[in-house]
Amino acid sequence: MAASTETQVSGAQASAPPPPRRRRRWPLAPYLLSAPGLALCAVLLLVPLVMTFLLSLNSFSFYGGIQNVWQLGNYADIIADDYFHEVFLRTFRIAALVTLLCAVFGAPEAYILRRMKSPWRGLCLLIVLGPLLISVVSRTLGWALLFGSTGLVNQGLMGLGLIATPIEFMYTETGVVIALTHVLVPFMVLSVWASLQRLDPQVENAALSLGAGPLTVMRRVVLPQIVPGILSGSIIVFALAASAFATPAIIGGRRLKVAATLAYDEFLNTLNWPLGATVAVLLLIANIVIIVGCNRLVERRYKQVFE
């Protein structure tokens, strides 16, 4: 009994292990217990998503509104139109860059955090993870103030002699990428931090005592063990960056569209709901393919690390 409880505790974080057999068994009990949640998810998640898909098949005209016909015209429009290509390509480019920056800065930071001593570590972790709890609108407002109104970033860069003329950050991809990296980097730190928890510092010491230099230890001992953490963090960051809305809407403005702000405009400004729904369906499919597909790949490649 004690042993089985212990394995349960250690496995609790990842996913629930199969429970031991019960003494009294009533086969309907688990279904009754999860019935409220099931009903909620079925009515409020599956039905609206199916309706969105159906809406994306409708057509739209400026005078007649939404036409109740079933066709793939909206998808054909998006595939054929250069404007939509540009928006989706930009979304992808921003998400890829943000993911790269988060990995490059977030992973070393998680490693540095783990090597810190007790009072500092807790405080710094609080500073790194805290922004996750602060409204994304407030954080993006901060970047808008730094980039635009006060121009502190440009003043600082010019003061340091790094640039000669001010860089345009507001309403540019550069600005969106920087602000999104700020919003999403805590997720990368969290993910790498979780994988570092499994790393025994004594292994590094062992490598050192066997004559490996610090760089070799990093490359041969530490990095291979945190790569799964970096990869799963990248999946989270990429998925969130590709569907981010508030930050691109504030920093990118109305001119620099990404997929999410495009869908928003079609819905609330142009009122072309079928087209907006089509963008949403494409975004959802891309998101699921990336999350599920990449998770499979990562799990297969690093099976031994996860076990």
């Binding site: 609206p48 969105t52 994304v136």
Partner: protein, 266 residues
Amino acid sequence: MNRNGPIALIFHCLFLGFLLAPILIVCAVAFTSQGYLSLPTEGLSLRWFRAIGDNPEFIRAFKDSLLLGAVSSTLAILVAVPAALAIARHQFFGREAIQALFLSPLMVPHIVLGIAFLRFFTMIGLGGTFAGLVLSHVIIILPFALRLILAASTGMDRAVENAAASLGASSWTCFRRVTLPLILPGVASGWVLAFINSFDEVTMTVFIASPETTTLPVRLFLYIQDNIDPLVAAVSAVLIFLTVAAMLVLDRVYGLERLLVGKGRD
């Protein structure tokens, strides 16, 4: 090797600076005495904090946000506790599928959920209502609540329950007096994480909120889209102060790392 070198510490300081800069600038600009966006170089002033009082729509949105967060987190907990107990302690057909369904809102981008709910609620007549906001928020915060409660109920020692049952406690008494107190830390932290996620949500809510019923982040977002002035900086600063205060309490009581390491997607 187990210490950070000078380069690592410089990197660390730059990283923290990067994280803190936008948050600090919002707080700084909020204290400006000027009528336009500027740093408070001419001395600190509270005029923009007082100005919030002249804009009752921010106060109303703040109250709505608090109520929405409280109601939807409570509902999410009521749904998540029995579901978590079912998943944690029963082996049944479709268990994995049910768990995946409960966690699936994490996989759907909030922009897609916003569109889906806007369409759905307009059709069933819940468009722009508080009930609609509550229902949609329950869906997005359910995974966070479920995960923490699931962790608590999986790690629980079943021997105490068996003891209570063998001493003649009914299943309800057993749940109320033994199981619930044991999983209470998980339930409480699940509620808090659900509340935070509901309170901060903007992408989905912007689609389903109406001018009469809206949340503070949505009100702020729509305001910022039109113009940025010291007033929004002051409102944001108040939000930041409140969040930091809540965060410090949370860190003392539960541990922020414990609460957040389960956050995000699997």
